[in-house]
Symmetry: C2
């Protein structure tokens, strides 16, 4: 990153992947230029929100021209660190671990899967995307020797902290955690959680809220 984005709020940063996804779609449709108003119609944020968000990163847009789709896409990709490659391992090779291993974005954006680990002896020796499933006892050495940057935890919640500890000891940089528990790690390790039940509970809230309004 050349510019200093330290004062951009996380709320703006968290919207960037969505811009990135829509800009990618536009490029696939061979649309090379777009106004904040058209982008607003597509993406659902207001045009002024879009201008404000994208202004944080230096003015990509030009009055009367709009945004250059490819330029904006590339710049947001760089801000998100998607111009680099990352070495990863997945711990927990059940359905969720296998789904992540095969997730299209995962492959497309340079997240290189080097190892899959599990405790289930039945899975040992099986391959997912040409990657052998290995015994979790080998995890620490593997992460250290292969300088793995990201560990993806797809285990039951009971063992997630233990796995996080092993990854930390082996000098991991980041953890993408799918276990429904908040793992504790030192400050130099970054954790991003996907708590599926939180999203499900919000859906059930919204369903009830709607019903509530209907009855009024």
């Amino acid at each position: 990153m050349n510019r200093d984005y330290a004062d951009v709020s996380m709320a703006v940063i968290r919207r960037l992947p969505k811009y990135h996804r829509y800009l990618k779609d536009l490029m696939e449709k061979e649309i090379y230029r777009i106004s904040s108003r058209e982008l607003s119609r597509l993406i659902g944020f207001t045009a002024s929100q879009i201008r404000q968000d994208l202004n944080c990163f230096g003015g990509f847009g030009q009055q009367g021209y709009g945004y250059n789709v490819e330029e904006l896409y590339n710049e947001i990709g760089k801000i998100l660190g998607l111009h680099k490659n990352y070495t990863t391992v997945i711990i927990g090779a059940g359905n969720l671990g296998q789904a992540i291993a095969n997730y299209p974005s995962f492959i497309k954006y340079g997240f290189q899967l080097l190892g899959l680990f599990d405790v289930n002896p039945k899975l040992m020796g099986m391959k997912i995307r040409d990657i052998n499933i290995m015994d979790v006892d080998l995890l620490e050495d593997f992460v250290r020797e292969n300088k793995i940057e990201i560990g993806i935890i797809c285990t039951p919640k009971e063992v997630a902290q233990n796995i996080a500890d092993k990854l930390t000891k082996a000098n991991i940089n980041g953890i993408w955690n799918f276990a429904p528990v908040d793992i504790k790690v030192p400050n130099n390790v970054t954790v991003e959680n996907v708590h599926l039940s939180e999203s499900l509970f919000i859906l059930s809230y919204l369903l009830n809220e709607k019903e509530h309004f209907k009855k009024k």
Copy 2:
């Protein structure tokens, strides 16, 4: 819901599942009373944030006593609509669909899975948790006949909108969407998205941000 929570912001609502999860853990550890300060230490929000959040729903806490864990847990559960049962189907019975079908929270909180659908002839007749995998051509009739409330889309992005249209026609109430695309539905259908790549991109942003600060 007895009270009217219409003026509580979605930002507060989105934090409730996390409170719910921590309160559940406390109950499992047989802790029945907790101060906002102790809760703050556990959950990572500030104590004043916690008091402010929970005040929105009527004062559960008492000065000098703290919160009654079980009462707060039950009330938050009710706000989130978790005291009810929901009928669901999953569309896309690949790894992700199977992972969701087996997700512990899904089962524990009354989300009743009645059908699994796919296009892959190899999967037809297979069972996941005693549920037959059926041909997606049967989806609309099944949803209508069984008054299914929630459809869970675990398909590739190319077909997600088509599935959402079928669900909408069959009077679905809510869609939990895992396909990496924003589906369009009428206002009376609620959509909650889980865009895994957005979370992954935030992780890669945070990793780079950390590196950036290290170099300074």
